[in-house]
């Protein structure tokens, strides 16, 4: 098991012929993801890497190949349209990698996706990987390993850092998901925590938050009231000055809200251990999760 993507994921890549799209499609194919179609308007009829059919529209791609999931690598100005196109064509899961999507567009797109019962991950996210099954997005697969720890994060490379440490310590992952750093994202911590809680394969969860918003605070409450599995967290941005956007559009402390302190406090109040630095995550996990303890001891 795993959450959101698995062996049955049949992927259509929107923007498959672009620089990033083509690079990462090759990586996904090498990993074993079922990439069944690509979409680039005007290139319908061609083949990607000699094997993946390219279509002008997602509707056609879904109709011809039965794709159930889409990943988007188009420029930000076209990302909202691409998300809506994928949902309209029947994709149940849409992963939007594109960075820089206007937030007011996303507010409407979010409604569009929800109303049609689909799920969006991102935008501005690294995607999702269920090791050994399917990789959708840009996460570097070589640092992951099959296993039972779920990882959810608002960051990209910081996720890799943490996943890398898990793997090096012998802790494989059920699914690693980067939900994105924008103020409005399709899938939040709560959705992922609920899915991990319900996934029989997942035994523990690592949550990586950052400054801005109050998603971590709400996640803390959820963990305290609804989760049975151990969760360890890390919050980035303790040294970030207020009023400054730290790269991510959503990572900003404003009006005294969204501070790392508030998030750490919320997690600690909820009984969730918070790591002071990324390398503390595995040791903290060992306190409540037996396999982590054994893995550390075995080193």
């Amino acid at each position: 098991m795993s959450i959101f993507v698995n062996k049955d994921t049949k992927l259509v890549v929107q923007g498959i012929t672009g620089r990033d799209g083509s690079f990462h499609t090759k990586q996904m194919m090498e990993y074993g993801t079922q990439v069944v179609a690509g979409v680039t308007p005007g290139k319908g009829g061609q083949k990607f890497e000699g094997s993946v059919p390219i279509f002008d529209t997602v509707a056609e791609a879904v109709k011809e190949t039965g794709a159930n999931t889409s990943v988007i690598y188009v420029p930000a100005a076209f990302a909202s349209d691409a998300i809506r196109e994928a949902v309209d064509a029947g994709c149940r899961l849409v992963v939007c990698i594109s960075e820089g999507v206007p937030v007011n567009d996303m507010a409407v797109t979010y409604k569009y996706v929800k109303e049609r019962g689909a799920q969006l991950i991102g935008p501005n996210c690294p995607g999702i990987i269920s090791p050994g099954q399917s990789k959708v997005g840009i996460l570097p697969a070589q640092i992951t390993a099959e296993g039972k720890v779920g990882v959810v994060s608002r960051s990209g490379t910081l996720t890799y850092e943490v996943v890398d440490q898990l793997t090096r310590n012998g802790l494989g992952q059920s699914t690693c998901i980067g939900i994105g750093g924008d103020p409005i994202i399709g899938t939040g911590f709560l959705d992922c925590l609920e899915a991990f809680e319900n996934d029989p394969e997942t035994e523990a969860v690592v949550l990586i938050g950052e400054i801005g918003g109050d998603d971590e605070e709400r996640a803390a409450e959820y963990i305290q009231t609804k989760m049975s599995k151990p969760v360890v967290s890390f919050i980035a941005g303790r040294t970030a000055p207020p009023g400054k956007r730290m790269g991510h559009a959503g990572a900003i402390v404003s009006g005294g809200k969204g501070t790392a302190e508030s998030k750490v406090k919320a997690f600690e109040a909820a009984g969730v251990r918070v790591a002071d630095k990324p390398s503390d995550i595995v040791p903290l996990l060992a306190e409540s999760y037996e396999p982590a303890r054994k893995a550390l001891e075995g080193r």
Binding site: D20, I97, S155, G156
Partner: protein, 379 residues
């Protein structure tokens, strides 16, 4: 992106909102000329992109021309939180009877725009929210339908029963929503929205923040950008596709990804040092970006060591290594560089960096500790 009060007011006025007469001045003589044209008492208001200008002495009431001259002289050139005042708005002083707050912003929790209205106007709304939250009325707008007249009316009746205030505020809220949508705003606000002693209503202050991600389709607003209000290094970084924020420490950080960059800064602090900056080179792999990033970091004379922390995903380590080698060749780098490159194409990168004077590191902890040691500050 922020626009100045006078620019926001021009936009507000063009949408039919009642804005007091006023013009912007860059010299005392201009200020006086504008005040003479307006006639009567005026306000002299510093145009800077920071809050709290009033407390800093940047907003003054001028009874007569003599006072205008005095206040404009004092305010023009004044330093407010590190920014020099280059412009003042000279605007009709209103005879205020009641002050309200009306605003609209993107609410993350509801993922929708949200109106905020309060009868406690004219003061810091965040302070009101903190101390007397019952004075804040909010209403989430479904962006598919936009703001409805009945919603604006309901909010207005929530803070006043004066027909002129209700009518004026209802119109103001609907207009703010239109401005918000049309200009891709993230925040639009009137504080205070006032009722004058004669019963008329006015937008006495105006704030408009634009979503940077949407600037590409807002050329008119982008043209309002006042670069003198922004840190030149941050501007240069943004133009190169980098995210940079200047800090006070001595360890220059060059990281890919905002989360990792913050975690790197936090780790510098954790090990007893101080980061000199936040710098995210972003998600693509252009060697020139590394060069620009290095230049920006080296401009800061406090920097005693540079810490590269790259975890390759969409960014390829070999590209970063190429940029790094190029930067070191081009620039005379006077400080030690610690390079930790891992992830996509890390073997190629390791190969490329062999034989250079860079200090390699395998883990974040090791890299940060090494950088602090090299900066002469390690624990």
């Amino acid at each position: 992106m922020k626009v100045h009060e006078y620019q926001a007011k021009e936009i507000f006025a063009s949408h039919g909102l009642p804005v007091p007469k006023g013009e912007v001045a860059t010299t005392v003589d201009e200020a006086v000329a504008i005040a003479e044209k307006i006639g009567g008492p005026v306000m002299v208001k510093a145009q800077v992109h920071v809050g709290g200008r009033g407390k800093a002495g940047g907003v003054k009431y001028a009874e007569d021309i003599e006072a205008v001259r005095k206040h404009a002289s004092a305010i023009l050139g004044m330093d407010i939180k590190g920014l020099t005042v280059e412009k003042v708005l000279i605007t009709e002083a209103m005879d205020i009877d009641e002050e309200y707050y009306v605003g609209l912003l993107m609410d993350r929790a509801s993922k929708s725009p949200m109106f905020i209205v309060s009868a406690a106007g004219g003061i810091d709304i965040e302070e009101v929210a903190r101390t007397t939250p019952e004075k804040i009325h909010t209403l989430v707008i479904d962006p598919r339908y936009g703001a409805q007249a009945f919603q604006a009316r309901r909010l207005a009746y929530g803070v006043s029963s004066d027909p002129a205030v209700v009518k004026g505020m209802t119109k103001a809220l609907l207009t703010l929503y239109r401005i918000y949508v049309e200009s891709d705003a993230s925040l639009v606000e009137i504080n205070p929205f006032i009722k004058a002693k004669d019963g008329s209503v006015w937008a006495v202050d105006a704030k408009l923040n634009i979503d940077d991600n949407a600037l590409y389709r807002q050329p008119k607003i982008e043209a309002m950008r006042d670069l003198s209000e922004e840190d030149p290094s941050e501007v240069e970084a943004k133009e190169a596709g980098l995210s940079f924020v200047k800090l006070e420490g001595n360890v220059g950080c060059l990281v890919n990804g905002a989360g990792l960059a913050m975690a790197t800064m936090d780790l510098v602090k954790y090990f007893g040092g101080q980061p000199a900056n936040f710098l995210d080179i972003g998600g693509s792999s252009n060697p020139d970006k590394v060069v620009t990033a290095m230049k920006i970091i080296l401009r800061d004379e406090n920097v005693k060591a540079i810490l590269f922390n790259i975890f390759g995903g969409i960014t390829r380590c070999d590209d970063v290594a190429a940029g790094l080698i190029k930067a070191v060749e081009m620039l005379d780098v006077p400080v030690p560089i610690v390079a930790r490159l891992t992830g996509t194409n890390e073997e190629e990168a390791r190969e490329m960096l062999k034989g250079t004077k860079l200090h390699p590191a395998a883990t974040m902890d090791e890299a940060v500790q090494l950088a602090l040691e090299l900066a002469g500050e390690g624990k």
